[in-house]
């Protein structure tokens, strides 16, 4: 039994290494985040934005998913800036300064460039799976 366990665990380790190194579909490193993006990402976590907002459908449910808000032609960076800076009735005003708000916007712009959140209907194949390669 232990031998079988070790075999399965070895497969898991190899698979994990593949996931870490090759999970990016393009198989090429995306643009690494610059210092502003990193600062925005840290702030995203420190202010616990994920409690209310999703990215790629992962996170809280109180506010909208923000994956592609920065690239949305009807919303965009100014729209995000204004929401974060002033808050709304539902969203508290976190009293961030201009630089902090800009860093958060930079983070969301970087996230937007990583891909699309919604899978188009035509990408669903007869197997019930997606084909996102083309």
């Amino acid at each position: 039994m232990f031998r079988l366990w070790i075999i399965l665990f070895s497969v898991f380790v190899v698979y994990t290494c593949f996931v870490y190194t090759c999970c990016d579909q393009k198989n090429a490193p995306s643009t690494p985040p610059d210092s502003r993006v990193n600062a925005g990402w840290t702030l995203w976590q420190e202010k616990n934005c994920q409690s209310c907002h999703q990215v790629y459908g992962l996170g809280g449910y109180l506010g909208p998913d923000l994956t592609n808000t920065a690239g949305d032609p009807y919303k965009g960076e100014k729209y995000i800036y204004s929401f974060i800076k002033n808050g709304t009735g539902k969203m508290p005003n976190f009293n961030l300064n201009d630089s902090e708000v800009n860093n958060l916007v930079a983070f969301l712009v970087w996230v937007d460039r990583s891909g699309k959140n919604i899978v188009p209907k035509e990408k669903v194949t007869w197997t019930g799976n997606y084909n996102l390669d083309n």
């Binding site: 039994m1 079988l4 399965l8 497969v11 898991f12 698979y15 994990t16 996931v19 870490y20 090759c22 999970c23 990016d24 579909q25 198989n27 490193p29 995306s30 690494p32 985040p33 990193n38 990402w41 840290t42 976590q45 420190e46 202010k47 616990n48 934005c49 994920q50 409690s51 209310c52 999703q54 990215v55 790629y56 459908g57 992962l58 996170g59 809280g60 449910y61 109180l62 506010g63 998913d65 009807y74 009735g89 539902k90 969203m91 508290p92 970087w110 996230v111 990583s114 891909g115 699309k116 959140n117 919604i118 899978v119 669903v124 019930g128 799976n129 997606y130 084909n131 996102l132 390669d133």
Partner: protein
């Protein structure tokens, strides 16, 4: 029962009560954020609720493992020092975590929102648990039943996935957002699998002890299901990130592995008649009642999980309240029920007075009935959100949520009796644990 273990059991039950109180407050804060923002905003309540739930499940599972394993060892092989080190470090860190939340100090990722430096004492405490479990178990020469393997697997994989969950702190993992989010949800998915190994191991242990049939935990069938569970723990986490544009082989692997869960479902249907006979024979035991409730919820959650594991369906359910139904159905309906069964066994609830037991059974039924409404509301809410955002392609979030909010109001009302009934049960168990005669350490 040793005093430190009694303290641990009482703490776990307090975490359950805290989960329910914060969850209840959070559900109403979700409906009326403008009001709650003035004193206890949703972004503060949610981590309190989620972390308390995690600590209830993990502490409850490990309390059972520590309590039961000693009966499986060669006498005198247990190591109370490492057990105490684990319990005290673990509990002290949790107190600091809640203090951070109270001060609005966050910084971690989903489910572990505390400042990341606190992951270190949690990991150190877990190493003490590993020492206290594996060293005496390995030395034990007895032929090991399957629950010993399951507990060991859960403890080992919790460590691996907890470390993996913290890899985001290494800059290389953050160079690509897709990599970061993939690793994050790989870890979170397997983390759930790891505590399920501990909890299902406890369920198997309890069935052996209640029925007196040692063969349940031995043989080829139970081994096959253990390996199937382990395979799912390792590779079936991809449904969390189906819509993330990662390499397609990640989706393919998860899709194929997740379909093996049909075997669990078919086994449950196959065993239905013998389960009914067990119910007739054992329903007088409160421990068994909780186990059987968990089996019913396993059945319904498996149906939901299987549906969500098909990408074409996941496209509609992802990011909706159906995902919440999936996680709450599992944590309340399955994990909490098994853990309360385990606590009933450890605390000897079946030996208590008739009125004590009747009180628990009444609250048990209130909990089950309100959980049905609670779970159903989440599915309806998720269906509406998925339909409006994906099929109707409504772009405005407020417009998508308009018909969803009344359903979530019904959900919040259903949460009240469910939370009260579970708080009463946990309060009665705390009372029982507090009044039990302690063994000299």
């Amino acid at each position: 029962m040793r005093n430190y273990l009694r303290l641990y059991i009482i703490s776990a039950l307090f975490f359950l009560a805290a989960t329910l109180i914060f969850g209840l407050l959070a559900s109403w804060a979700f409906l009326y954020p403008e009001t709650y923002n003035k004193f206890l905003p949703f972004y503060q309540l949610r981590p309190f609720h989620v972390s308390a739930a995690l600590f209830w499940i993990i502490s409850g599972a490990t309390a059972g493992v520590l309590f039961y394993k000693n009966g499986e060892l060669v006498p005198g092989k247990a190591n109370p020092i490492t057990e105490k080190l684990f319990i005290y470090t673990w509990l002290a860190t949790i107190v600091v975590i809640f203090a951070c939340y109270a001060l609005k100090k966050f910084g971690g990722r989903e489910y572990w929102e505390f400042p990341p430096v606190l992951s270190m004492p949690l990991l150190v405490s877990w190493l003490f648990l590993i020492a206290s479990y594996f060293i005496p178990i390995v030395k034990s020469t007895r032929d090991k039943p399957m629950y010993i393997w399951m507990w060991g697997t859960g403890i080992f994989f919790f460590m691996i996935t907890f470390i993996e969950q913290n890899l985001w702190q290494i800059p290389w993992f953050r160079y690509s957002y897709l990599r970061e989010v993939t690793v994050q949800w790989k870890a979170n998915g397997s983390l759930v699998g790891s505590w399920n190994q501990m909890i299902y191991g406890t369920s198997l242990y309890l069935m052996v002890k209640i029925s007196g049939n040692e063969n349940i935990a031995r043989g080829k069938t139970v081994f096959m299901f253990y390996m199937l569970g382990l395979t799912n723990l390792m590779f079936n986490w991809g449904h969390h990130i189906y819509n993330v544009p990662t390499a397609s082989w990640i989706r393919d692997t998860s899709y194929v592995i997740s379909m093996t869960e049909w075997i669990f479902l078919l086994k449950m249907i196959h065993d239905f008649r013998s389960t009914l006979e067990d119910i007739k024979r054992l329903k007088h035991l409160i421990t068994y009642r909780f186990i059987i409730a968990s089996e019913v919820w396993v059945f319904f959650n498996l149906l939901l999980t299987l549906a969500m594991s098909i990408p074409a369906i996941n496209r509609y359910t992802h990011g909706t309240h159906i995902t919440v139904a999936h996680s709450m159905g599992a944590t309340i309906g399955i994990n909490t029920m098994i853990l309360l069964g385990s606590f009933s066994y450890m605390l000897g609830i079946d030996k208590m007075s008739e009125s004590f037991r009747k009180n628990i059974i009444t609250n048990y039924w209130i909990c089950q009935a309100s959980l049905v409404v609670f779970w159903g509301c989440l599915i309806v809410a998720g269906f509406l959100k998925g339909y409006r955002s994906v099929t109707l392609n409504i772009k405005t979030f407020q417009e998508v949520m308009m018909p969803v909010m009344p359903v979530l109001k019904a959900f919040s009302w259903a949460a009240i009796p469910m939370a009260i009934s579970l708080i009463i049960i946990s309060g009665m168990y705390i009372y029982r644990a507090g009044t039990m005669k302690a063994e000299i350490e």
